[in-house]
């Protein structure tokens, strides 16, 4: 049973194999055991060298979808059914993944000079132009978060004037229009009281539970340039933030 992989100019072979395996994982092939074909079997099946087959498995491993055991084989992680390949996701994608309908209300969208905090986070000179996008975020018509994104103007000129982020996803535009790949992010989480504006926007009752989860995030592209600094306040009672961490080959350092 030979398999059709696209020839020269397409996506690399090992990624094509990775895609196929991912689909099979999500389709539930490999059953409850979750045992994938061995490297040698995959090499045979796809008519590639063993190293190429191995690379496909390793890519899945790096995404946290499978794990390997010497002498036994490669197995599907139980959590792999839910998640895909993306590890840096946007609010839009997160909400959609929960089966809810996201939308946004743009509160502010303007180019402004960077203040100290923004300049430091984005590693740009003070007062450089920055696209600021402040949005109230909804899931199923309920306000969940206030999100303020700052992007160096030079990275994506005319970002705000050319797009309407009421429905468009910022990440999608960055990727598809400006060709910017987000590769790395640093996030901090803090619990705090909501201020008056936040209480009003997030529809919080006057007396109780005026608590927000503050998330600050700097996202970098693949060449270590800061692309966005996002400062968010999530409704404390209605939102929970989830992240997955992989210890990439956690080997002890010898002293």
């Amino acid at each position: 049973m030979t398999e059709m992989l696209k020839g020269n100019t397409a996506r690399p072979l090992y990624l094509q194999i990775q895609d196929i395996l991912l689909k099979e994982i999500q389709a539930g092939v490999y059953g409850t055991e979750g045992k994938l074909p061995s490297e040698r079997e995959l090499a045979e099946r796809f008519k590639v060298s063993r190293m190429t087959a191995r690379q496909a498995l390793q890519s899945l491993h790096q995404h946290g979808l499978v794990y390997a055991q010497v002498g036994k084989g490669t197995f599907v992680r139980r959590a792999a059914f839910k998640q895909g390949l993306e590890s840096l996701s946007s609010f839009t994608e997160d909400i959609r993944a929960l089966g809810q309908v996201p939308h946004s209300q743009v509160l502010f969208a303007q180019v402004m000079p960077a203040d100290e905090i923004v300049a430091q986070r984005l590693q740009i000179p003070l007062h450089s132009p920055v696209s600021v996008l402040k949005r109230l975020r909804f899931a199923n018509q309920q306000p969940l978060a206030i999100e303020t994104a700052h992007l160096p103007y030079a990275c994506c000129p005319n970002l705000l004037s050319r797009h309407d982020f009421t429905h468009e996803s910022l990440y999608r535009v960055l990727q598809e229009v400006y060709g910017i790949r987000l590769a790395y992010a640093e996030q901090t989480f803090r619990a705090d009281l909501a201020d008056a504006t936040e209480r009003r926007l997030l529809n919080m009752a006057d007396g109780a539970l005026n608590i927000v989860l503050r998330v600050a995030r700097v996202t970098f592209n693949s060449t270590d340039q800061p692309i966005e600094y996002v400062s968010s306040a999530y409704h404390g009672a209605h939102y929970e933030f989830q992240v997955s961490l992989r210890a990439v080959r956690a080997q002890v350092m010898l002293p």
Copy 2:
């Protein structure tokens, strides 16, 4: 200038090279440019094949310490000086990394039957024995967090009776005594009000700011078995949680 790499039985060659490069990065070789030697140069320097040198660089890349650009070279991430190889860190390590002195007060340490939540998180039968370790965590003598860890008794028998976790790190014991490698973690963050006990333990003033950051975490070993379920409450005013996320080869899936 040839380099001394240990022979047959030691750590794999590419990891030895990785270690050397990491030390050089942290020592500030490669200067402000941050340009590492090319794959071919490394192969020459360490007398290994290019694929092996490449593997060392890739390992650093997966840990988020460097990034590569075709046609140009491999470069140090600016954030790489602070961080090491570990991505799954414990409270003890986190506090130490901030230059503060951690210690703990054990509030509870006993084997108990698992309730529904714990059983579900750890994927074990209801009422199976679980080692429960509840600690008040300090940094520089100030109470910062209440942390309750649950571990399946079968994973690490006699964990609580044989160790005193006032000063010992749970992760260290897991790794060094039981040989358990933590490979993967799922964390959720939530902002919440502190209850009476938490206010008391965390030394919170009566009127104001009784806010905690709740972090729930399930950690898996390399074979996808849940090893610990930790539920924590961090002092809202004094603690901020930081995580780094890498998009491991974020390639678009074709539909």
